[in-house]
């Protein structure tokens, strides 16, 4: 594989799968905040 192709593949993975991880973290954290609010 050319360097250019490797870089683009890694960037694509980081952006898309990184975005998914961030979205999951946001959802989990938000759920925890909601739970604390309900319990208060």
């Amino acid at each position: 594989m050319s360097t250019e192709a490797v870089v683009m593949m890694v960037v694509a993975m980081l952006v898309v799968w990184g975005g998914l991880v961030l979205a999951l973290v946001n959802l989990v954290r938000q759920g925890a905040v909601e739970d604390r609010s309900d319990g208060a």
């Binding site: 594989m1 050319s2 250019e4 192709a5 490797v6 683009m8 593949m9 960037v11 694509a12 993975m13 952006v15 898309v16 799968w17 975005g19 998914l20 979205a23 999951l24 946001n26 959802l27 938000q30 759920g31 909601e34």
Partner: protein, 538 residues
């Protein structure tokens, strides 16, 4: 009991009868199952390859963030706030827009009828993979021995090899639908989505270990930056995002209506949107690694073997399976993944129709399933288990996607954004429990950027179809199963919107207690079946 409390209690009972997802996890898996379909596996890799390779990532991400996810959140907000199928949600948004919901229902019915046929092919090919039944010439086998496709004509010559798996698909799908939202769709998603991820993950690893895989990935990811100057490349990115995310034709409205009122729909939408794109990227890697192997084995360049759609699945992959070590395993994983991805999408498409029928007529789940499923199955078997099935399928698929989904999505967005000016109210609803908050940016993206992107895709598609007949098919086929169908669907939708709602249906804005963003003094009287609009800008 006060009137307000009485209406709230009545509505709670109606919601109980409608059913719903038991948890956020089940809803997210079901929504991911709907979004991840055949297009993720066989459409995205080739679209990316054809439109700049690695450079396509830029317009693709722009389309995802500026149009796909904002539009997904719009669908979620409409369904979650108004607690109904697409027609009921639009009727509650404003009575006169109910026809938009039925238009979406009509599109889903048509898609279900032909989508099941492709699943039947994939199901049969999963079994064919075990002994590579297609032999040395997969193309001749697919069109000849398997589909028995003859001249372009509509025939009644049944192909038993397609009829039987198609009947199996319909029996399985209707059984799932009869079980209901949680026990049927929810359980199916809980089991099948993890299985899909594992199966496809194994397939990708196997493909990456094949000789020549690097050549395929090189072809997919080497960027052609000049492509970014082309409007058609940007249109391809917006088109891929729209077709892939299942937005704009009722699915996400329907699924969102089954979610707990306190759920974070914005956060859930981000997870669904990125999961869909994450799977597409995985599919791109797996498919092009396999195509690289195919090119090396044939001693040609990747561009000689690269293909998408039916050609990729039923011709290129069998060729790869013939040559690859442990090819039978590769075949079972690939076609099994197609079946699983397809079936979780198919149930979501049919649910749009069943949910609408149940809301309108107040029928039981089983009655609605049979009332929708039996005619759909019969039509599917009659049209697509014959020797002319592939031609009809190709034409219907092209026109319903290009001029059914795109047009109804565009019209819905424009109506909600500009005619009803409902975005502030919908944003307020999303923000009650949703994070991150949506604001002016989301409203601009949903009312301007996403419609503009859709409009460009639509104009370019129309230009191509007017310049020359799609795939060279005869005018009678394109007219009868293409243009006539896409013109008839909104008219049928309009006619269905004239039918009365079942007695007691709340049509006066969001149902009582459904919209925590509403002021405490908001009117909650259930004017049933009246022409009142919510018009609610807060």
């Amino acid at each position: 009991m006060s009137t307000t409390a009485g209406h709230a209690s009545e509505h709670a009972e109606q919601e109980r009868r409608r059913g719903g997802f038991s948890s956020r996890r089940v809803f997210i898996l079901a929504a991911i199952g709907s979004a991840i379909g055949l297009g993720n596996i066989w459409r995205f890799p080739y679209v990316a390859y054809e439109n700049g390779g690695g450079a396509f990532l830029l317009p693709y991400l722009v389309a995802l963030l500026t149009a796909g996810i904002p539009f997904l959140l719009l669908d979620y907000a409409i369904g979650h706030r108004h607690r109904g199928s697409a027609p009921l949600s639009f009727a509650r948004l404003r009575r006169g827009t109910e026809g938009l919901g039925w238009w979406q229902v009509g599109i889903c019915f048509v898609i279900a009828v032909y989508y099941a046929a492709v699943l039947a092919w994939a199901l049969r090919y999963t079994l064919f993979s075990l002994d590579k039944a297609w032999g040395a010439d997969p193309e001749a086998f697919f069109f000849g021995e398997f589909l028995q496709a003859g001249d372009v004509a509509v025939t009644a010559d049944v192909v038993p090899g397609v009829l039987v798996p198609l009947a199996v698909v319909w029996v399985a799908v209707l059984a799932v639908m009869a079980l209901g939202v949680q026990r049927g769709i929810g359980t199916l998603s809980l089991v099948f989505i993890p299985v899909l991820l594992v199966a496809f993950g194994v397939l990708v690893v196997q493909a990456l270990l094949l000789p020549g895989a690097g050549t395929g990935l090189d072809a997919l990811f080497t960027p052609d930056w000049s492509a970014l100057a082309s409007a058609s490349v940007w249109a391809a990115a917006f088109g891929q995002i729209f077709f892939s995310l299942s937005v704009g034709f009722g699915i996400m409205i329907t699924y969102a209506s089954y979610v707990d009122r306190r759920e974070d729909m914005t956060g859930s939408g981000l997870v669904v949107g990125f999961s869909n794109s994450g799977f597409e990227l995985l599919a791109g890697i797996g498919v092009f690694a396999a195509l690289g192997f195919m090119a090396q084995a044939a001693g040609t360049a990747v561009d000689e073997v690269a293909s998408g759609g039916i050609g990729l699945a039923f011709i290129a992959f069998p060729t790869i399976i013939n040559e690859a070590p442990a090819g039978a395993l590769l075949g079972v994983l690939f076609f099994g993944s197609l079946v699983i991805a397809g079936i979780t999408s198919l149930v979501s498409v049919i649910e749009v129709v069943i949910s609408a029928v149940r809301d309108k007529l107040d029928t039981s789940r089983l009655t609605a399933t049979l009332a929708v499923g039996v005619p759909a199955a019969v039509l599917s078997l009659v049209l697509f288990s014959t020797t002319s099935g592939i031609y009809v399928l190709d034409v219907v698929d092209h026109f319903v996607n290009q001029y059914g989904i795109l047009v109804v999505a565009l019209v819905s967005m424009l109506v909600v954004s500009w005619a009803l000016r409902a975005l502030p109210g919908l944003a307020g609803h999303l923000n009650v429990h949703g994070r991150p908050r949506v604001g002016t940016g989301w409203r601009v993206l949903t009312s301007v950027v996403a419609p503009a992107g859709l409009a460009v895709v639509l104009v370019l598609a129309l230009r191509d179809d007017l310049a020359e007949p799609y795939e060279g098919y005869p005018a009678w086929l394109l007219g009868g199963f293409g243009w006539l169908l896409v013109v008839a669907l909104p008219l049928v939708g309009l006619a269905l919107s004239r039918l009365p709602w079942r007695s007691g249906t709340h049509l006066d804005g969001p149902p009582p207690g459904a919209d925590p963003s509403a002021p405490a003094t908001a009117p909650t009287g259930a004017r049933t079946g009246t022409g009142h609009s919510e018009g609610g800008l807060r």
